[in-house]
Every structure is written in structure tokens, then in C-alpha cells.
Symmetry: C2
Subunit: 212 residues, 2 copies
């Protein structure tokens, strides 16, 4: 499955032939068909594996954020900060996102596979929307915002950063965009409006979040 | 070329066979090869066509923004507002972005084609970075920001919104993300910090921008 995913992210699904997948995995055709009836079944298994991993990861990040603060705005900022922290450790750019890869060849997949992709997006949006709504009940935004598209902004930035990473071979693109999303939420909701930047770095705030 | 582009955005480049392209365009193989030596030459022509159109469009939007205000921050906000305005008129979701489609099958293309894609991204980033730097000289940001990744954020959001549009069949995804980007820049740089939203819509500001 890792061999297939790597190949798909380089050439797309269509060009990743079964022979090429088997070749890269170093297995026989018989071994492949022992696990999967077809390439379509492999595609579904791959996207389901990422969907499960991403949902479990989001849950664990939200759990950590909830343990680190009782305040829903802080939870959200910590959650994004944790994603930023993780992605800042990358030394090689992401090879890409399987969902986006499939979306750009969507006519090649059955409804079940594309439904998994759609469900990943709506699950993520629901979880972030829930946190945003809780934050907004305590902190009115400085500009009128639509909460669903504000939640979707995190998805858009992540998908866009995957593309920037690939185009520019830039391992830092994802972390940089998480930071901008976190800045936006802070400026929208935080009761303490930061002073204009005078060259002083945010060491204090960062240290406080780490210490929490 | 339109037929080919439509097909590529549905199935990806690999699965868009020459026969399928010719069939959709309603032309003969001879007619195709009169214009293009190969599918690779068609791919390059397609991406070059989009690159030229996008650069010309950005130039015209920046020209309009510069005519509407002398202030670089306002020019930038107007520029994004004009993109938002245009995309808000969409009644059908975008079929996708050819650059992203090619990026997700990047191993299938020659260096010349992928260089066109990379140059589109760096050209856009340079133009927006220039405006941001001019704005920042007048208006210090409320949070420390990296200007290059702040410019790239517009690209990330556009690419992400293409993906959201496709997944959710949502014509409004792009306009919503332009609005969030504009909000973020306003909150970062605008000397008048907006009051927390009390349900009053932004009619006054919008009217002022239209009047300008």
C-alpha cells in the first residue's frame, strides 16, 4: 500500500499501473490479488486508510488541546499550533495528498471511493466548525464571518500547501500556512488585540503555549 | 484545447487519451496532428495558455486596483475584493485548476511544462509580495508575518478552494476563501481595528470601496 501510494502521488492513479505498483512493492501478482480483487479495491483501501489515520490524528490533537486549556478559542489555537509544530519538523516536502490526487482524476473512481473523500472533508469541517462556534459564543469576531467557510479555510490551506510543497519542493510550506491560519483566528477573536509589530518576536506567547 | 482541458480536469491527463480528446472535440486525428505533434505538446500549449491568461488577468486587476486607490494596502484589498466579486458570480463550481491537475501527475510531464507551472506560482507570488511590502512600509502588521508565505497564502487558498469546489460541488467556495484572505490582511494591517461584530453588516465599507 505504501508503494502504491508513493507511485500514485508521483504519476497520478491512472498512470500507476498494477505492474508498476507490484514492481515497486517487490511482490508478485499473486500476492497482490491475494489482498485486493482489483486496482479499484486498492484505491478504496488506500483512501480509507488515510481517512481513518487523519480522523484519529485530529481526535488526538483535539484531545491534547482540550487538556491544555479550558477555553475553546485557546483550544483551537493550540490545535492549530500543534499541527504547525508537527509540520515544522518536516525535512522533506510532503509527496502530496491522496484525496486531492483522486479528486483531480475523480471520473476514474466509483461512488464509494469518492464518498470516502467527501466524508473526510465534511468530518474535518464539522469538528473545526464545532470548536469555532464554541469560541464565537465567548468572543465575538471583529469582522462578520461565515463559520462553515472559516472552518473550510483550514482544509483549503492544507490542500493548497500540499500543492505549494510539491511545486516548490518546500518542506516549510505547510507549517507557514498553519501559522497564517492561526494568526487570522487570533486577530478575529482574541480579546487582546496585539499591538502593531515593532520587531519583537512572539517568544512570550509561544513560551506560554508550550508551558501550558 | 477546451475539449482537452475539460476532459483532463475530469479524469486527469493520463486517462485523457488522444482518442477521447479527439472524440470530444469532434475533430479528426489528422486535424489534431496538424496543430500538435504529440499529447505532450498539447499539454504544454494548454498550461501556457492558462499561464498567459492568468498573468494578463492579474495585471488588469492590479491596474484597476491602482486606479481606484493610491494606498498600497487599499490596492491590495481592492484587488482581492475584485477577485472575490468575480468568483461570487459563478453559478457552477470550477471544474478545477490545470496546474494542480498536472502537479498531481508531475512525473508524466517534461521539465519545460513543469517549469511553466512553477513560473506561474512564482510570478503570482512576486506580484503579491511587492504589494504586501509596499503596504507593510506604511502599516506595520499587528503580528509578525513572513511576507513571502503571506503572499503564497493567496495561492494556497485559491488551489484549496478549487479542490473544495470539486469535492462539494460548491460554486461559492472560491469567493468565500478570497473574503477570508481579505479579512486577514485587513486585520493584520488596517490602522482602524474593526470593533467586534455586533451583527452590523459591512455595508458601509463595501459601499465605500465600490464608490472609490
Amino acid at each position: 500500500m505504501d508503494a502504491a501510494q508513493g507511485l500514485i502521488l508521483e504519476t497520478g492513479y491512472s498512470a500507476a499501473s498494477l505492474d508498476a505498483v507490484i514492481g515497486r512493492a517487490g511482490i508478485t501478482k499473486g500476492a497482490f490479488f491475494y489482498h485486493f480483487k482489483s486496482k479499484a479495491e486498492l484505491a478504496l483501501a488506500l483512501v480509507q486508510r488515510d481517512a481513518d489515520a487523519d480522523a484519529a490524528h485530529l481526535q488526538s490533537v483535539l484531545d491534547r488541546a482540550e487538556a491544555l486549556s479550558r477555553d475553546p478559542l485557546q483550544q483551537l489555537l493550540i490545535c492549530i499550533g500543534l499541527y504547525e509544530e508537527e509540520t515544522a519538523k518536516l525535512t522533506a516536502p510532503y509527496p502530496g495528498c491522496l484525496y486531492a490526487s483522486f479528486i483531480y482524476e475523480s471520473q476514474l473512481f466509483d461512488d464509494v471511493t469518492m464518498t470516502v473523500v467527501r466524508e473526510v472533508f465534511s468530518h474535518w469541517t464539522r469538528r473545526i466548525t464545532g470548536k469555532l462556534e464554541a469560541a464565537m459564543r465567548l468572543y465575538p469576531p471583529r469582522l462578520p464571518v461565515d463559520v462553515r467557510t472559516l472552518a473550510e479555510m483550514s482544509l483549503a490551506l492544507a490542500e493548497g500547501a500540499f500543492i505549494l510543497s510539491k511545486v516548490q519542493r518546500d518542506a516549510g510550506a505547510m507549517a507557514a500556512q498553519w501559522r497564517h491560519y492561526r494568526n487570522y483566528l487570533e486577530l478575529l477573536f482574541s480579546p487582546q488585540i496585539p499591538e502593531p509589530d515593532t520587531g519583537v518576536k512572539r517568544g512570550k506567547l509561544d513560551a506560554a503555549v508550550s508551558a501550558a
